[in-house]
């Protein structure tokens, strides 16, 4: 076996045994083999003089207190679970906690859906007010035109013309601010939900 192969196998063994400072350990054995080669041995003989990987790992473990080894192992498992995002513990907790988290999830989802609908209703309602003002203004003008057919008395026709012109002017005046308000509320809705999502995460 050559040096690189030995060091690769050693690294795998150390990783499997959850040993920390793996790079430092590899450096040490790299140096040991290199020093042997420098003293006149060929690479294969130098590697052959090294102990077995199991023996290296066992000696390393023997030096450490049991508590520290357990802590290292737990920490590694935790990191792996965090990396994969699906640790066994979390799966077990998710199954056991099913009766609790499902109703909470449904309530939260319903509240968020309600909030979403309410916000859009505000947008639609504000826009409807503007449309209503415009419609009333148009109907005032219609009543004024009807005055010429004799179906509507002239004082009512004149009043309707005045009211229609007033409301039409109001609709024109309010068009821009209401349109901007609707657009800003509509734009705020995704932002609000992004913030809620961030808060939950």
């Amino acid at each position: 076996m050559l040096k690189q192969e030995f060091l690769t196998q050693l690294r795998s063994g150390l990783e499997a045994a959850s040993i920390e400072d793996i790079d430092e350990c590899i450096e040490f054995y790299d140096e040991m083999i290199s020093d042997r080669i420098e003293s006149g041995m060929n690479e294969e003989s130098a590697v052959a003089q090294m102990e077995s990987i199991d023996s290296i790992i066992n000696n390393y473990k023997a030096e450490k207190p049991v508590a520290k080894l357990i802590m290292d192992k737990v920490q590694k498992s935790h990191e792996e679970a965090k990396g994969k995002g699906k640790g066994t513990l979390w799966i077990v907790l998710a199954i056991i906690g099913f009766p609790i988290w499902l109703p909470i999830l449904i309530v939260v989802f319903t509240l968020l859906l309600t909030l979403y609908i309410v916000l859009w209703c505000i947008v639609v309602a504000v826009f409807c007010v503007l449309v209503l003002i415009g419609a009333v203004a148009l109907s005032g003008l219609f009543v004024f035109i009807m005055m010429f057919t004799g179906l509507v008395p002239w004082p009512l026709g004149i009043f309707s013309l005045g009211a229609g012109l007033f409301l039409g002017g109001l609709a024109v005046l309010l068009w821009h601010p209401i349109w901007s308000l609707c657009k800003s509320i509509a734009g705020m809705i995704p932002a609000i939900f992004r913030k809620i999502k961030k808060g939950i995460a």
Partner: protein
């Protein structure tokens, strides 16, 4: 030999060799092997532990186009040798007492 006792002795051996002067892994194994059996896998954890206990310092230096680690003893390391020698005297006394007791019983 008891693992705990062997560990204490090996600690003292590593420190004693370093008291002569700075050294590196391969040389330490070669020097210590002349009076007690030691392998790389035994030496490495000892060096790590002694370093964490500030009994030795480590520096990396270039040698033949690669990096080699050199170990030096600290004052704490020297104090540890004194401590171990003191403990050894106690062990010898106890050993002598046990041997004498046994000798008297067998006599």
């Amino acid at each position: 030999m008891d693992a705990q006792l062997r560990r204490g002795i090996l600690d003292a051996c590593v420190l004693a060799v370093l008291e002569r002067g700075e050294s590196y892994g391969y040389k330490l194994v070669a020097d210590i092997s002349t009076f007690i059996e030691i392998t790389e896998s035994t030496l490495y954890p000892i060096l790590k532990r002694l370093e964490s206990q500030n009994m030795l310092t480590v520096r990396k230096a270039e040698y033949s186009g690669r990096l080699r680690k050199y170990y030096s003893i600290t004052d704490a390391g020297r104090a540890r040798i004194d401590e171990l020698l003191g403990e050894w005297e106690e062990i010898v006394k106890v050993y002598k007492y046990i041997a004498d007791e046994r000798g008297e019983k067998n006599a």
